[in-house]
Symmetry: C2
Subunit: 430 residues, 2 copies
């Protein structure tokens, strides 16, 4: 069993009882064996990492994305959501092959790792390829074959089977780093009966549900026209919220809908940059948090963000809800950091094992370089991480106690090759 | 005369006629002698920089800030503006001495240089110290001794004299890199007669005006109560807009006020992050741009941002106005980049000499490292710089043709010493 220790560490733990600790963190195998001010007794030969000039925190958790879409970064911007999807994104996605998926997800996982994300949710197709890259990258992946409910009955059957097979076959793989969900794409792209089949499968396989919901005002209106109910009530009637569910976006919500999500224990992935860029609006995050809904952060696909650095989402979440609500105390710094860490862990039902630096939890740890002008003076480290920090400050990353990034270099993925292959894969689509 | 050339360059010029150029850029002395696809004839011994893997663009222009306040970064966050100023910021600022100003502005100029800002507006006191650091850093500074109109007549006289002396004595210094303005702090902190004295001095010295205006809804209401007019009309009546004027914030504007600012040729420094963080609101940037007002970007002081990377402001300006207006075509990528470059140059009345890469303009150039995951695939470079890029991608900076940052290291300022001294100066304030 591998064993190592950090000394001279400054730890932002996300543990309520001791949010900031200066001292030691001891890893045995894949878990945190000790964190605190006292130097632990060590067997000889244990690797010692000097934490001077660094700040350590839990790895970030990105709760919504579509990693192969990273191949379309910058391909089409500044357009209306439906036009962007129908005229630009979907036609190019239709040409995606295994190589597009492989190099798109490799590029995404490389970027996420280097900017401090250790766990991510992914909804796409060709998920076996994505899962294969997760095995290699060392990341924690919560993966789901998303299914758009357009097509012939045979096509829908095939998508459903592929989604169910993936969810069953890959759950718990890669030493438990891979978990799975079931994901009908959205109420406006899936007939009710198709959604119900996924809900039933979620019961059968005992895996959670994930879907896009109420991203735009237009799709909410459409839902009312088509089904006589807003999306929350609609999905609730289809039985989805009887299952553990994570909703992406949830921008347009009434007070009653927020209350129902809280009552059902449904989590929300807040995709601030994507919602701004596509002009979908600003989710009611302060109200969701007040109601007790688990809110976490997602980048969405790189085509609508356009980067995958969760630090950018944390900063945005810390800024925008103040400005839009008129309340400068909304989403304070510590809460913004929780959105990207411990609340993210809750959102993917893994809060008992990740999301904070605590004894017994997995050693999913990132270290940022503090010797940079924007961290000076060293006043409030949580404030600095949220309002001033950036993903490019990340120096080291460990997942399950294994180092995946060292001095800014990814150890598990071949960066030079990925940049080259991603470029070539994109050019083949044109 | 020094002479050097970039070959294999990818240039984002901000020149309407040829926005992106691949080829050569030739610098003679402090200016751009050639930019284009053809290799220029060179005398022997001219330094050649290989631009492979880099993207070059004009240096960024930060049109509002208070550099010594960088010393208060992270000292107080998540508070109401007036409480934050009165209970936290002003009491600590009252203890500022020459050393606080020196190390605060050094830290700020270091951070700005390393993140690609080559010119900045600064409003504070002890401006001779700030000007001295500008001489050393090599930056372009538009400096003004801001004057808050509280105090005895003698105190106001002293502030006024200091401001006027500074504006006269330093204008054009540091080989022309320093220009000056006159800056009554704000309509709500300066009696009308005090503002009028500055307007007269602005005529006398032929330097422009700068002030904070309509940052919060409360100060607009106060202005109406105190003077029977909203701030735009109030300042117009005091003669300010007969002078070249740059307004910071300008968040709360009516249609009529926007029209008047356009008619008077008044520029606006949009401080998106600061306005969000202090919950002041979201400035009406799309409407200002449509009306023909020159809009530029400012970080404001680091205590309300909390970093000085203008790339963060560019991205925010590209995102937030889409989300808030509901129009995904608002502030498209190229417009967002102009806010931080050529419009910034216009805002400080230097568009004939900086803000774009064009023959005859000063060689204020930055180079960013493209070999990073978030710039792949290489699709639309302008989109990447705005939506995906970051100040930490900056590798090289030149101002007036002289290199100030090389491979991410600042050549003109001593980074290690500044971080140390800034920390010590902050601790002395406590």
């Amino acid at each position: 069993m591998s064993e190592w220790i950090i000394k001279n560490g400054l730890f932002v733990t996300m543990d309520e009882t001791q949010p900031v600790i200066r001292g030691y963190l001891h890893v045995k195998g894949d878990s945190i064996a000790y964190i605190g001010e006292q130097e632990p007794q060590l067997t000889e030969g244990v690797e010692v990492i000097d934490g001077k000039g660094l700040v350590f925190m839990p790895g970030l958790i990105n709760t919504h994305g579509h990693t192969p879409m990273t191949l379309l970064r910058g391909f089409a911007d500044d357009m209306v959501l439906q036009t962007w999807l129908q005229d630009k994104i979907w036609p190019l996605e239709a040409k995606f092959d295994d190589q597009s998926a492989r190099w798109g997800t490799s590029l995404a996982q490389l970027e996420m790792l280097k900017t401090g994300t250790t766990a991510f949710v992914d909804m796409y197709d060709r998920m076996d390829i994505i899962a294969g890259v997760v095995e290699q990258s060392g990341m924690r992946g919560v993966l789901t074959r998303g299914a758009i409910g357009f097509g012939s009955p045979e096509e829908l059957d095939a998508k459903f089977k592929e989604a169910v097979d993936f969810a069953r076959d890959w759950n718990g793989k890669a030493d438990g780093r891979i978990t799975t969900m079931l994901a009908p794409h959205a109420p406006y792209t899936c007939p009710p009966a198709f959604i119900e089949r996924f809900v039933q499968a979620s019961h059968d396989l005992n895996v959670p549900m994930h879907t896009h919901m109420s991203e735009t005002a237009a799709e909410v209106e459409q839902n009312v026209r088509d089904y006589g109910a807003r999306p929350v009530e609609h999905l609730d009637k289809l039985g989805m919220f009887a299952r553990p569910t994570l909703l992406a976006h949830a921008v347009h919500l009434t007070d009653d809908e927020i209350e129902l999500l809280a009552a059902r224990g449904v989590g929300v992935s807040h995709n601030a940059a994507s919602n701004l860029k596509l002009a979908s609006g600003v989710a009611r995050v302060p109200e969701l948090l007040r109601a007790g809904v688990t809110v976490s952060l997602g980048t969405d696909g790189a085509a609508s963000n356009n980067n995958l650095s969760l630090f950018d989402e944390i900063r945005l979440a810390g800024l925008i809800h103040k400005g839009v609500s008129g309340d400068p105390t909304a989403v304070p710094a510590l809460e913004a950091l929780k959105l990207g860490t411990i609340y993210g862990a809750k959102a993917i039902w893994q809060e008992s094992s990740i999301g904070s630096l605590e004894v017994g939890k997995k050693a999913d740890i990132i270290a940022l370089d503090l010797n940079r002008p924007h961290y000076f003076p060293l006043t409030d480290i949580v404030s600095h991480l949220v309002y001033s920090g950036s993903g490019s400050d990340v120096r080291h990353v460990w997942i399950d106690g294994k180092q995946t990034v060292r001095n800014g270099e990814c150890l598990t993925l071949d960066e030079e090759r990925i940049l080259h292959e991603a470029q070539a894969a994109f050019e083949r689509l044109l």
